[in-house]
């Protein structure tokens, strides 16, 4: 079993939307061939969440989703704990579009997973075609990286 799983979500060709994918890919490149905190973490970079990701989650001790958070106002990145509803209702899953909570709920209910799940939300402001990031998001990147590293070191949603 992998201790930690990072799932970066987003489209790198749609501006700030790709920040989740960017941060996870960046971390993967940083730790490739190195030993140390986080180097043994598993990674997934996806455009969208799909049900079979629950299998990957079920094989990890804990999982961090990293995604853009659309906000009109200046804000800071933060990590929140994910606690799926226990009533078996749809939550964020009902069609082709899935949210992190739905993937976690699926892992819990189908595979009996009881790990820790969290979501790193990074404020995102602009989504044009292309890889350029908005100034607002660029300001948030150092803090987002700190959150990600803190979580990999074992920090939870309150500990980073």
């Amino acid at each position: 079993m992998t201790d930690a799983l990072l799932i970066g979500i987003g489209n790198r060709l749609r501006g700030d939307d790709g920040v989740g994918a960017l941060l996870v890919e960046e971390w993967r490149q940083e730790v490739t061939g190195r030993e140390g905190a986080g180097s043994e973490a598993a990674f997934a970079v996806v455009h969208q969440l799909t049900p079979e990701l629950a299998l990957a989650v079920a094989e990890a001790g804990r999982v961090l989703f990293v995604d853009a958070w659309v906000t009109p106002d200046p804000s800071e990145p933060w990590i929140e704990s994910l606690r799926p509803r226990r009533d078996g209702s749809a939550g964020e899953a009902g069609g082709h579009g899935w949210g992190p909570l739905a993937v976690v709920a699926l892992a819990e209910q189908l595979y009996g997973w009881r790990g820790e799940a969290a979501l790193l939300r990074v404020p995102a402001y602009a989504f044009p075609h292309g890889t350029a990031l908005s100034a607002g998001l660029r300001r948030c990147l150092p803090r987002a990286r700190d959150h990600l590293r803190g979580w990999l070191r074992g920090g939870g949603s309150e500990g980073v």
Partner: protein, 482 residues
């Protein structure tokens, strides 16, 4: 005063649409419309791009079935280069498409549609999804996830990523299949086959029992069916010729080339939808209504050509008739196609030539216009490009499977509304949830991907409105967006 019912948004499909049910003065159903209200315009922004980028660009139309655009764009590019694709590359493309069909059909059946069948039309919509399914039958839910993962892993191992891979290119593919990938595909096939077999058994029992009426009535109407077949008339998904069969089984047109699509396909436009209405030109509009996709592929072919799939096809035809006219049979057809795909994948794994020789032919531009065709999970897909002498795109036309089913989706909604709505509808009648669900489910038979066909950004919620003859909204039901 006539009235209209509006269903908006349609859940568990991709894109955004609403349904209006129009009543006449006596409260009887006069007309139904499946409106697609989003627009993206992919064809326009491809102009000016090099044709070699088209596989990468058009694959981004959708995150669900990018492979279909990738393959069709690559095939169109082959013709612009004027090359013969090496045999190994042709087979690798076939493998990619088979994996795509498998994963997409698994998603449609296990995650999107089976909750309706297994939990019942009357069950709480909030629970009629994969979470409800996993409570009712966790083993089936797990097996469905694994089957989709199997298809996805093949895509990933060939293309380097599950979606938006740029592995297929004009002239062939970028890389061969690795030995490791071949080994785990062979290892995973027995489980995938067992899952498909279980789903087929379960669904056939439902068709013979609680879903008998749906199988008989749900979106049943005469139409043409179009799909690719081999020169011998067998089931085909990427390299064949186009065949039209009529509702009585007669072959209406055969051996058609995609190059001539404009001579047999027309595209009508209606002011109330962004989705075009393709039709079979010789029959005119809207009489030239035709269906594409898994149901059409099974209807147009003589047989599939592998033992298990042919056995399932025989059973399919036993239940639905030689020409399955009910749109509900799309679900069963998807499962039969999964069997066909898994057998075909197994066959390719045993084929030594898959791993032999070149995988890409190289050339410079040799033509200024080309049309490519392939079978996407939802039906026949056409890419038509014109390029200048530098290979820059000057015109693109994409004819998408969901668009080709547009007339049929409208007819299906009409058929279901006629069968299940009270006749006449009382002025103060509530629209029962079960009827709304069936109308929605009628659309879901086609597993429409409206992001592709209208090239729309966003998700697809459903809205249903009941309108009077004078256009007054009498009732309205909206579902939470996805």
């Amino acid at each position: 005063m006539s009235r209209t019912v509006l269903i908006d948004p349609v859940t568990r499909i991709e894109g955004h649409a609403k349904i209006t049910l129009h009543l006449d003065e006596e409260g009887r159903l006069r007309d139904t419309r499946f409106h697609v209200v989003e627009y993206r315009g992919f064809e326009t922004f491809c102009e000016g791009r090099p044709f070699t980028e088209m596989a990468g660009i058009t694959a981004r139309i959708c995150g669900i079935c990018p492979v279909s655009h990738l393959l069709c764009a690559a095939k169109t590019g082959d013709k612009l280069l004027g090359v013969r694709v090496p045999p190994a590359a042709r087979k690798l493309r076939r493998l990619l498409n088979l994996a795509q069909l498998t994963q997409s059909h698994a998603l449609s059946f296990f995650h999107l549609s089976s909750p309706d069948f297994l939990l019942g039309w009357e069950s709480d919509p909030a629970r009629r999804n994969i979470f409800g399914l996993m409570t009712a039958d966790p083993d089936l839910a797990r097996a469905g996830i694994r089957l989709r993962q199997f298809g996805q892993r093949i895509l990933e191992s060939l293309g380097g990523r599950k979606i938006h891979s740029a592995w297929a290119v004009p002239g062939g593919v970028r890389a061969p299949l690795s030995e490791d990938a071949r080994a785990w595909i062979l290892e995973g096939l027995p489980e995938a086959r067992a899952t498909a077999k279980r789903a087929l058994g379960l669904f056939k029992d439902l068709l013979d029992g609680p879903l008998k009426r749906e199988q008989a009535e749900f979106g049943r109407f005469p139409s043409l069916f179009m799909g690719l077949v081999t020169p011998e008339g067998m089931w085909e998904h990427i390299d064949g010729l186009i065949r039209f069969r009529g509702p009585d089984g007669a072959i209406v047109a055969d051996g058609l080339s995609e190059d001539d699509y404009a001579s047999f396909l027309g595209e009508a436009v209606e002011p109330w939808s962004y989705l075009k209405f393709p039709y079979y030109k010789p029959f005119g509009y809207p009489e030239g209504i035709y269906r594409v996709g898994p149901l059409a592929r099974l209807n147009v072919c003589e047989a599939i050509g592998t033992p298990w799939a042919d056995q399932e096809l025989a059973e399919f035809r036993q239940r639905a008739g030689r020409m399955a006219l009910s749109s509900f049979a799309y679900h069963h057809a998807r499962l039969v196609e999964i069997a066909a795909c898994l057998e075909a994948i197994e066959g390719l794994m045993a084929d030594e030539t898959l791993r032999a020789g070149r995988v890409r032919a190289r050339a410079s531009l040799n033509a200024n216009e080309a049309v490519g065709v392939s079978e996407a999970p939802r039906g026949t897909l056409f890419h038509h490009y014109r390029v200048d002498d530098q290979g820059l795109i000057t015109r693109v036309n994409l004819i998408i499977a969901t668009g080709q089913n547009n007339l049929a989706m409208n007819r299906t909604v009409h058929q279901i509304a006629r069968a299940w709505l009270p006749d006449p509808v009382a002025a103060d009648a509530e629209i029962p949830e079960a009827i709304l669900n069936r109308i929605e489910a009628g659309i879901r038979c086609f597993d429409p991907c409206l992001s592709c066909s209208t090239h729309a950004a966003g998700r697809m919620p459903l809205e249903v409105t009941l309108l009077s003859a004078s256009g007054e909204v009498l009732a309205e039901r909206r579902r939470a967006s996805l």
